[in-house]
Symmetry: C2
Subunit: 311 residues, 2 copies
Amino acid sequence: MEKQELIDCHERIKPYIHNTPVLTSRLLNAMVGAQLFFKCENFQRMGAFKMRGAANAILQLPKEAREKGVVTHSSGNFAQALSLAAKSLGVPAYIVMPSSAPNVKKEAVRGYGGEVIECEPTLEAREQESEKIQQEKGAIFLHPSNDNEVILGQGTACKELLEDYPDLDAVFAPVGGGGLIAGTALSAYYFGTNCEVFGGEPFEVDDAYRSLQSGQIETNTTTNTIADGLKTQLGDKNFPIIQKHVKRIIRVTEDEIVEAMRLLWERLKIVCEPSCAVAFAAVIKEKEKFTNQKVGIIISGGNVDLGNLPF
Amino acid sequence: MEKQELIDCHERIKPYIHNTPVLTSRLLNAMVGAQLFFKCENFQRMGAFKMRGAANAILQLPKEAREKGVVTHSSGNFAQALSLAAKSLGVPAYIVMPSSAPNVKKEAVRGYGGEVIECEPTLEAREQESEKIQQEKGAIFLHPSNDNEVILGQGTACKELLEDYPDLDAVFAPVGGGGLIAGTALSAYYFGTNCEVFGGEPFEVDDAYRSLQSGQIETNTTTNTIADGLKTQLGDKNFPIIQKHVKRIIRVTEDEIVEAMRLLWERLKIVCEPSCAVAFAAVIKEKEKFTNQKVGIIISGGNVDLGNLPF
């Protein structure tokens, strides 16, 4: 994808997103030995960077397609993002969710104006159900991460970060489905000055790490991680971008994730998801390699269940 | 106190404090029916507005006095604020704390460079011990809230808020010792345009509410509230300012505090103390009186024990 595409995407979605604040902490800087810049997408509309990609994907649909609506299957942040972005643009949004999903997540989607369609909690049922909606309603299927327009949208968070701090030496992002890290890597490549991009990934779902090793997309057999936003699978659209533009993926343990999350909550005073802590844990893990550097970290989202915290 | 004193105070402390960000939320606006502007002093250095007053109080001491140091008795945010402000200015800080105070609070003070002096957990012992340090070290005693320089310092948070949003109709702050609400009221009077100031206070420690009713400083017999920052007592320096410039104090229940705190964490995605939630709970409680108004809320601090949350 080209630089101009990222620029156009950013202009296109600006009316629908926040340019989120960047926080810093002297204590965390001292602890890591680097200058850290936290891009707080937990303060994004609906609470996560997913709003960027969802808005861009809908805006890139032709007018006739928009009228018929969009459909996705997700029980995470993309479900809410697509619902809110669609509502902002007067587009119907159909969200296929497993019947086993927590009620609070279904209510959140409905609160943003999405129509929830429940299905059996299997991947097959989810795909069947969304296929059905595409046929019945003529709605367009949008994938949460393996979609070029989504990748461009997610990349605008790093673009904004580099507009504020053009001389970052490195940017860290968590790796789940790969949309955020791919978009981040594109922005660092086009808008940074020798800015290297690193991914953080839990050992428990290290498909991206193994994919980079083997040169082909690997899958996870278990997904036993607290970072629930990162359980998804790399795709064939974002993997080549990651191969080309991501310097390295650093894996972290569950204990390291929780410890990094506690630091973010206690020191930055922000509510953020375990997924964000994965990127920060990766920085801490290899901190001696970034001494005195300027390091950006994408804080991906803040939608957590306060009744189920790891502290 | 005069307008120019607030202006001078702000210029004086600027190198030692952050101009903290103001957050907004469409969802909370819709819920309250007003435009809300949250001044996030939880992002202040050391995590609370107390840094402002502590910095100003030390900066106003003559040079000779600074060399001998400052002393206070506190186990809360003022202890940390005075330690950090003193350290930033190369001044010794002696902090008298009850031996029963949690180790984490003593460590936080030491982390900011303060010297902890432990005493028996009674007010008498605290006063005796800090009296002793004044005599032995020649250190100057600084009160956490009942001090004109502290009041001016705390007022700069509202001054900054009004610089960003000059046409606020109302500003809410929590009421504890009275330093924040008094400073806020002065700033609203001098820098606002018909901006009224309201206090939020827990029913369980409603000394300020009762003091305004009776016209004299009342005391609390119990302090059974989750808002641990508000258990302190009004003083003779801030009470007259509150009488003159605070429109009204609104009392809230413990349940209302926890509910407001949950909304701040879930919707604004910030880690903040129960004390901040008291001010927001007061807004919610009387929301119909503020319909379509522009309302500022001072989020006073973010130093909470993550292992002991009310959710």
